[in-house]
Amino acid sequence: MLEIHDLHAGINGKEILKGIDLVVKEGEVHALMGHNGAGKSTLSNVIVGHPAYEVTQGSITWNGKDLLALKPEERAHEGIFLSFQQPVEIPGVSMVNFMRAALNAKRKYHGLEPLPAADFLKLMREKRKIVELDNKLANRSVNEGFSGGERKRNEIFQMAMLEPTLSILDETDSGLDVDALRVVAEGFNKLRTPQTSAIVITHYQRLLDYIRPDVVHVLIDGRIVKTAGPELAAEIEQRGFDWLKPEAGEDKTDHI
């Protein structure tokens, strides 16, 4: 269970998150929606421990542990995964070596021996199928020369390899055509279990047609201004976000 309490955080001295309270329980999928600049990506970066962001107030616990005290890699070992909005290219580091280093570091953290090479390659083969990732891509350098769609698929492939218990999808739908979106979303759904939870960050209803959220939050100016069921996403698709702005919200809701 992820518990965020009164979280204030920012970057370069500028406060972006202004008091976030959020609880994600085991098995739940939460959608996080909002304008550009509302703080969605900041929240995901803070959860995974990006060193550029500074937490000034509040707490995040993950299964009872103080998440903010852990290094990014330790958070990963604890089961937290971020599917990046813009996955970075790493020329010269092969996907195989990268995944081997990541997986074995996690195993070491949990007191397990490194996975034997043959088992590891078998695992790679199996997991590739989930997102229909071409073998050629898996043998290349990390994201090097990958198209936008291939990068997002590669993110879900890595998720499959690392089997996180909390996945954050940061605008995984951006830059994807419908077919790629379907493959990525279906891949994600195959990986869901009653023990895994997710935070899905998106601007659009589209992704949520494939990945059904249990709860939808709207983030405006660093605060969660509305929390409701999946129907909220559909409403936003029709009406946009402006009616939810705190100052506008008061008089508009009167007329509803």
Binding site: K71, F84, A101, A105, K106, Y109
Partner: protein, 457 residues
């Protein structure tokens, strides 16, 4: 204050008879002239363009012993040295300090008829016609103080000869070993002659066997005949007390190719000069280099690719990874002379400074006097990519490991361009160990080897 030059002038004046007596006429013939040149020039100051980044006089100031009487050092490298390259079937030769190591009892795989790999002085004595036309012809003592000093003092070294249309079937590995009980200066000389259509793959490794301070001058002259093909890789794995000044000259005749690799994994102060002349049409030169340095190490590569003939190609790729307070320098000049039309040339130097205290000087130079050429040059100096680092950490790769993977990937581009698969694999292994700080001794070396002693971390 006494000038650094003085002790070498005194040494030569006092011992030039002994120097000549323990050498051969072909080498002695150039000695006096080299001495005159050295007295005239002295060591280059850092105002001299090609020595901008290394203080030569300072490196030569300490008092080192010079083995003028050619005494043999008690060492059997075949026993002490087991630093082989697995899966690379080589013929192994040693040069101890500045002398070719002879051991009649060692059985080496036989070489094709006519191929010579031997002591330079012995060949010069027994078959001077093979040495005299070449010795000192590329490395002019009048042009460079290191050439002059080396020519003054060198008494032996390595001679490699591949006759016409012969390909040496397996790579030749030459290991230069520094071995002494006192601080020692070694003056090594190498002459490589590939006749028309000959082929050779050569791997030269530099090791220091003792923790003493060493100063080496090395002059390598390489003649690549028409249609001949040379691949030569030099690997330095010495320690922080070693000072190396190496001048390599390569002359490429028409339709010949040369790949010249220079990998510095461990050094104290290293200054490599590489001058390649494309003197015949359709020649191709490929220069690759990698430097990994930390602590107070200093590595300076200075190259010249001289396009004298039309229709030649050259490529150059050097990469440095600097940690600690290491200093790296790369100055690469590509000169396309008048008439060298249809030249294509590409020069790249990319560098990574992993700490704030590491310093890199880079100076790619392109000088063109022909109007129908395709040339490019460029260089970069940067830090590790923070976005990539965080991406890897998010996946669970610990920070140190992520840094290592990025550095390894950076240098990997150079290693991957080596044609010998076994050497490539070996270098990947050595580079990784080097980055992990585990190359305290080069893997596989006998207990006597003290390669790469003091390292940071």
């Amino acid at each position: 204050m006494m000038r650094s030059e003085q002790q070498y002038i005194d040494l030569f004046t006092a011992h030039h008879e002994a120097l000549s007596a323990h050498s051969v006429p072909a080498m002695n013939a150039l000695r006096e002239q080299a001495f005159e040149d050295f007295c005239r020039m002295g060591f280059p100051t850092q105002k001299v363009e090609r020595y901008k980044y290394t203080d030569v006089a300072e490196a030569f100031a300490p008092d080192y012993g010079v083995n003028v009487r050619g005494l043999a050092f008690p060492v059997n490298p075949y026993q002490a040295f087991r630093c082989d390259v697995p899966n690379l079937s080589t013929s192994l030769y040693f040069v101890v300090n500045d002398r070719f190591y002879d051991d009649e009892t060692v059985k080496r795989p036989s070489l094709p008829e006519g191929v010579i790999i031997d002591s330079l002085s012995r060949v010069a004595r027994e078959r001077p016609q093979l040495v005299e036309p070449y010795y000192g012809r590329l490395a002019r003592s009048s042009k460079d103080a290191i050439n002059a000093l080396n020519t003054m003092l060198a008494q032996d070294g390595l001679f490699i000869y591949v006759p016409r249309n012969l390909a040496v079937p397996r790579p030749i590995q030459v290991v230069n070993i520094l071995r002494a009980d006192v601080p020692l200066m070694a003056n090594r000389r190498t002459l490589v002659v590939l006749e028309e259509g000959a082929q050779l793959q050569l791997l030269i490794c530099d090791h220091a066997m003792d923790d003493h301070a060493f100063l080496t001058t090395q002059v390598v002259e390489t003649f690549v005949g028409e249609n001949a093909h040379l691949e030569c890789y030099e690997l330095e794995e010495t320690h922080s007390q070693n000072h190396r000044f190496s001048n390599t000259y390569v002359d490429l005749s028409a339709c010949s190719t040369a790949t010249l690799g220079s990998i510095t994994l461990g050094c104290g102060l290293t200054r490599n000069r590489t001058d390649v002349t494309l003197s015949g049409e359709n020649g191709e030169a490929r220069l690759i280099g990698a430097v990994i340095a930390d602590g107070e190490q200093h590595a300076d590569n200075n190259t010249l690719i001289d396009h004298r003939a039309p229709n030649c190609q050259s490529t150059e790729l050097y990469k440095y990874v600097l940690d600690g307070s290491a200093v790296g320098a790369f100055a690469g000049r590509v000169l396309v002379r008048e008439g060298a039309q249809k030249t294509t040339s590409q020069e790249t130097n990319a560098n990574l400074c992993a700490t704030r205290t590491a310093r890199m000087y880079t100076q790619p130079m392109l000088e063109i006097y022909a109007d129908d050429v395709k040339c490019s040059h460029g260089s970069t100096v940067g830090q590790l990519n923070d976005a990539a680092l965080f991406y890897m950490r998010q996946r669970g790769v610990p920070e140190d490991e992520a840094r290592l993977l990025l550095k390894f990937a950076f240098v990997g581009e150079v290693i991957d361009s080596i044609h010998l698969p076994a050497l490539r694999d070996r270098l990947h292994y050595l580079v990784e160990k080097r980055f992990r700080g585990e190359l305290g001794r080069c893997a596989g070396c006998g207990d006597n080897m003290k390669c790469g002693g003091e390292r940071q971390q």
